[in-house]
């Protein structure tokens, strides 16, 4: 993807320019609830007590699935895999994985957050966060 402008699929989801990729989450200053993507109101307290934080730690793969037919609105390539990763901060996050199929995925394996191509459109490379098994 040399020469293409890199843009995030959505602003405010992650930091992709820093050396270690980070997800942007909200943490409630009153009860500690963590939410991704970030939002203003705490789903538990129902007050605007959320503060922005980042997550860059290793997580554990809880479960995963493989998809072979493109769902509606999908602009990337099939096949691909999706998983839920649990991070030590106390949050589970859904994300696309770097693996094309589920053959090498194992529940409980260590996962790191990476930035990768989601799709190319209008000569721009759209980036998203992905979950990558730690080798």
């Amino acid at each position: 993807m040399e020469g293409l402008v890199k843009v995030p699929v959505k602003d405010g989801l992650f930091q992709f320019t820093s050396p270690s990729p980070m997800l942007i989450v909200s943490c409630c200053s009153a009860c500690g609830e963590l939410v991704f993507p970030k939002q203003d109101y705490c789903p538990e307290c129902c007050t605007d007590t959320m503060e922005e934080k980042t997550i860059s730690s290793l997580g554990k793969l809880v479960c995963f699935t493989g998809i072979t037919s493109p769902p509606p609105g999908f602009k990337g390539e099939v096949p691909y895999t999706v998983g839920i990763v649990e991070f030590p901060e106390g949050i589970r996050i859904l994300g696309v994985m770097t693996e094309k199929n589920i053959d090498r995925l194992i529940p409980g394996m260590d996962i790191e957050i990476v930035m990768d191509t989601a799709f190319i459109e209008d000569e721009k490379e759209y980036l998203t966060y992905k979950f990558k098994p730690v080798q």
């Binding site: 699929v9 959505k10 989801l13 989450v25 609830e33 963590l34 939410v35 991704f36 993507p37 789903p43 538990e44 809880v62 479960c63 995963f64 699935t65 493989g66 998809i67 072979t68 037919s69 493109p70 769902p71 509606p72 609105g73 999908f74 602009k75 990337g76 691909y80 999706v82 998983g83 839920i84 649990e86 991070f87 106390g90 949050i91 589970r92 996050i93 859904l94 994300g95 696309v96 589920i102 529940p107 989601a118 799709f119 759209y126 998203t128």
Partner: protein
């Protein structure tokens, strides 16, 4: 205390009807329910109309075919729980004493293929996270990892559904499938194959809700609504379209909470239920919800189903109509279809799929947005 009853139910067969529009699907179901209650549109004092994909005022367009008595008509959209939500509104309208006879009707002519618009943000769809079956697959995969639920148990759920549906004229798929055929079908979202997922389709279903005294003027063949509950998602319920959830939480999941509320409202427990129609939008969901609704301990849904406990003749027959896996899911009509099925069970009119002596029945629908409806009927 007002006793709220269902005086009549009716369905338009669930399937694919290129030659019929939603008006026909809905009005046929409504007409059948009214006829079942020995009533016509002139007897109805208010109507709640469930639909997801049509344009505005669709319920008005359905009911005008049966007469124009000028009554209040309200359209209800609540994803897979739309129909049961309409029943709940009708139940409350009767319970409050505002009306004596209320019609609840659901209808849908589904778009083909994967369903759009379940509340996903644009980035979720474009990156590949915006698909409902993906959530079903992840939920049951976690269950497999945690409790040892197997692909064979999932295949058995689909096998059971299709076996029962052979006798149901309202179901779309009425052909028995072998466990091998189900396992070897195209993999849609691992571990769910094509036959382990429901298909969106077309159909209608309706119920006439009354107070008992009024119903008795028209029919003796009514059943009582003992509970009608609607609850929604909390943070722990990582359901369409959620992207995150807390890793640890002490409160129960959505279907467990809705079931607990319904049992409390009815003064009954899961052990009292003789037959149930639950949201088998995929084979994994039937296993998970059979546990959430209290029909077996958490983690045992798969082995119990495989042992026949949830088949016709078993301890707690689940989805003996063929469920959503075989009926298909016309979203706005689906949960009213479940309520029609359990009404027939309590009236002893379920034909070859009759659960002998059924006196208490439960229906459960759950869907996008995080809606859960539990309805309990008693004879």
């Amino acid at each position: 205390m007002t006793e709220v009853v269902i005086a009549g139910v009716g369905m338009h067969e669930f399937g694919r009807y290129n030659d019929k529009d939603y008006r026909t699907l809905g009005s046929v179901a409504a007409q059948r329910a009214l006829k079942d209650a020995n009533m016509n549109m002139k007897d109805v004092q208010a109507a709640f109309c469930a639909n997801v994909y049509e344009v505005s005022a669709s319920g008005h367009n359905v009911l005008e075919r049966l007469g124009l008595p000028g009554i209040p008509i309200v359209n209800v959209e609540n994803a897979c729980a739309s129909g049961a939500s309409a029943v709940r509104l009708a139940y409350q309208a009767i319970k409050s004493g505002q009306y004596d006879i209320v019609l609840a009707v659901g209808f849908e002519k589904s778009p083909r293929g994967f369903l759009h618009g379940a509340g996903y943000d644009h980035w979720q769809e474009s990156t590949g996270l915006g698909a409902n079956p993906l959530y079903f697959a992840l939920n049951i995969h976690e269950h497999m990892v945690k409790y040892g639920t197997t692909k064979e148990q999932l295949a058995h759920i689909a096998y059971k559904s299709h076996k029962h549906a052979v006798h149901n004229r309202y179901a779309m798929f009425r052909k028995e499938l072998s466990v091998e055929e189900i396992l070897q079908a195209r993999m849609v979202c691992d571990p769910l194959t094509l036959y382990m997922l429901c298909a969106p389709n077309d159909g209608g279903a309706a119920a006439v809700i009354c107070n008992k005294e009024t119903a008795e003027r028209f029919t003796q063949n009514y059943v009582t609504i003992a509970a009608s509950v609607l609850e929604t998602r909390r943070r722990r319920d990582m359901f369409v379209p959620a992207v995150s959830a807390p890793a640890q939480a002490s409160y129960p999941f959505l279907a467990e909470r809705a079931a607990q509320s319904a049992y409390k409202m009815a003064g009954l427990g899961p052990e009292d239920i003789d037959v149930a129609e639950i949201q088998d939008v995929d084979a994994g969901s039937e296993i998970i919800y059979s546990e959430s609704l209290g029909f077996c301990p958490i983690g045992e849904g798969g082995p119990r189903a495989l042992a026949g406990e949830t088949s016709l003749g078993g301890r707690i027959p689940i989805n003996v109509s063929g469920g959503i896996l075989s009926r298909g899911e016309p979203v706005g009509a689906s949960s009213l279809g479940q309520i029609a099925e359990i009404t027939w069970q309590l009236r002893g009119e379920a034909g070859p799929n009759q659960v002998q002596g059924a006196k208490v029945a439960l229906s459960h629908s759950e869907g996008a947005g995080g809606n859960s409806c539990v309805t309990i009927l008693v004879k």
